[in-house]
Every structure is written in C-alpha cells, then in structure tokens.
Subunit: 203 residues, 2 copies
C-alpha cells in the first residue's frame, strides 16, 4: 500500500513540485483534497517557524504524516527582503506578477548595479505526525536576480532568478533541471530520506 502524505499547502504549484520529487513512493495530496482545516496563518518571523506551524496545524487534524513547506527569496541588496513575505510582497493576495514587479522596482530604487543583485531561495520543510514535529529540513540555492523576466516555466520569482552557474532562469529550466538544484528539491530530498527511514525503522 502506498502510504499517504498530506502536503499542507494550498499552492498547487508547490504540490506539483513535491509530487515530482517524491515520485511514486508516497500518495501525496494537499489541502484542496483534504479537510484538514484551513491553512494555518503564517505568523512566524522565519521559514522554520512557519513550516512547523503549518505542519502542526494540519497534523492535528489528519491521521498520517504531514509535510509543510515554507520558502522564499532573500535578496542581498534589499537586506534579505522579501524573505518570509515573498508570497505577499506586493500586498495581501498579490499574484506572482505583482510580486515580481515590486521586486524589480525596489531593486532599481537602490541604485545598486544589477550585477550585484545577488540572492538566494530558501526552503524549509517540516514533517509532523499528530502533535509532534518529526524533523525540519533546509535547502538553499544561491543566484542572482535578472533585470527582466525570462522564461515561462516555474512560478513565483522563477522568471527573475538565475541560479549560480546557469545562464538561464528557473523559469527557463525544465522541471527536472530545476528540481535537481533548487532550494525545494534539496530540502525535499532530505525530507524524503527521513520519510523513508520512518517507513522502514528497523532497516
């Protein structure tokens, strides 16, 4: 029997990426599929707090393992912003395009040369079961912000993010290429290793 894993997000893009990376090992579904309550408010000031808060809130309503992600973009010339505010940088309920437009506007305001628009995506994954956090896993990818959007793939800030060593943005890479180096891919593989150890504890 394929074990069930609840991904505590209402973001279909994230669920899709997580499915790609976890492959067929787990039957994943998300908060659209399961009435494990509304997504928890992200009141934490860090990715780590937010991921654990989301995981615990869903796990208390679900009989099984819950995986929650919190992630965002830290831009050096902006002092690490938007960080935990990445998804709502242009205001509550802002869409990806509005968030990207604000990011470019803020960067231009700094007067700092685009060659120095260094940044990193960070992802924190928390696993929880019932009332317990089972583990917290980190992934980071360093890169820089481009002056204009490039590519149609991905979501969020992907069309603006050039991972180090690549002349293409995350939105121009294939899903598999992006997952191999991305913040979420790295955190998820660490989480997946831990999930595997939970399945076969005596191994």
């Amino acid at each position: 029997m394929t074990p069930r894993l609840l991904v505590a997000t209402a973001n279909r893009h994230k669920t899709a990426e997580i499915r790609e990376i976890l492959g067929g090992t787990w039957e994943t579904f998300d908060l659209h599929d399961h009435a494990a309550g509304a997504q928890a408010e992200e009141n934490g000031a860090t990715f780590e707090a937010n991921a654990q808060i989301k995981a615990l809130a869903a796990a208390a309503r679900f009989d099984g393992i819950v995986l929650a992600d919190d992630s965002g973009l830290e831009v050096d010339p902006l002092g690490g912003q938007p960080g935990v505010r990445s998804a709502r940088y242009a205001g509550p309920g802002a869409d990806d395009a509005a968030n990207r437009a604000r990011l470019l506007a803020e960067l231009r305001k700094t007067g700092i040369a685009p060659s120095e628009w260094t940044a990193r995506f960070r992802c924190v994954i928390a696993l929880a079961r019932q009332n317990e956090v089972l583990g917290v896993f980190h992934g980071t990818v360093e890169g820089r912000i481009g002056e204009k959007e490039q590519g149609e793939g991905g979501f969020g800030y992907d069309p603006l993010f050039f991972p180090d060593g690549f002349a293409l943005t995350f939105a121009q890479l294939s899903g598999a290429e992006k997952n191999a180096i991305s913040h979420r891919g790295r955190a998820l593989r660490a989480a997946a290793d831990h999930l595997e150890s939970l399945r076969s504890p005596r191994r």
Copy 2:
C-alpha cells in the same frame, strides 16, 4: 542574572498563575510587554498543536526561551466539548461569564443528571527557543461541573469546576491550593523542571 522567559499569551490571568508557580527563578513577561508579534492564531485542533504553534511563532521573534500554554475544559456529557474552543465557546471574543452560561445551558439540554457532569481541565505547555520546540508538557485535573457558579477567585470556568476530592470549586480555593492540583500547575512544574535542566546542563 535572572534569566528571561517570554510567556506567549495575552491572557494576564495565565501570566499571573505562571509567575506564581515559577516563583523568582525566571523573570517572566508576556506579549503585553514584548513586541514578539501578535499572538499566533490557534488553528490547531489539539492543545498540543496550539501550544507549539504559539511558542514557535513567538520564539522566532524573541531572543530567549518562550513558554506557551494551551488549555481548556473537556466535559464528558458533551463529548469532550468545549475542549480547544473553551475560550470562545459562546462565540468569538466571548467573555468568561458568557462561556460559563453556555456550558450550563448545554449541560442542562443533555438531560444528564448533574452528578454525572464529569469533566477535566487539560493544559499543555510548550517551550521553544528560536526555531525549535524544546519540550511539550501535560497536566490534567479531573473533576465535575457544578450546577451553579461558586466562588470569586480564578478565571474562566473555575467557578463551575469541582476538582475531585474537594467540595469547593477552583474559584473558592486559594491560588496556592489551586496551583498545587491544577492542570496548569502540573504542566508548569514539569516545564519548570525542564527549564532548570536547561540552565544547568552539566549538573
């Protein structure tokens, strides 16, 4: 130097009880005193999830140890209600008197004899530092619900709760008597032992 402990609650009654129990060992202050962000929403379905969510949300904004409490009353003839909804049983923002009135009304509706209105207070304390839950501690006190309010002390459902072995409600006991047997007293003493071990890890 007295170490600082942030009590992640905006309920002054809870902070006062926690101060009484922890004594002079810790300099306690609460969310009225420290801008560690608004109290986290209690989205969890269990005391355990809520306590950890509140502790993590505050700890991400505070340089030190955070203690968060979640607690409530489980009434057997009501199938464990109001439980995690104890503080808002009569609706959002309801005061203690309204919550008590609803409790008595619901109990009378059941037709079950008051001698069988058994209940328990449960308290869960979570300790967190930065992004990590340091421990989760439980306390329970068994008792029964009285047919009318008695006593002026305490808060919440105290005037209706007769702890087992006592002919007085929590609101008729002194603070010290209540703390000695209460759910919060028990959970806090377990948490205090753990806090003490954090202060002197080599002992």
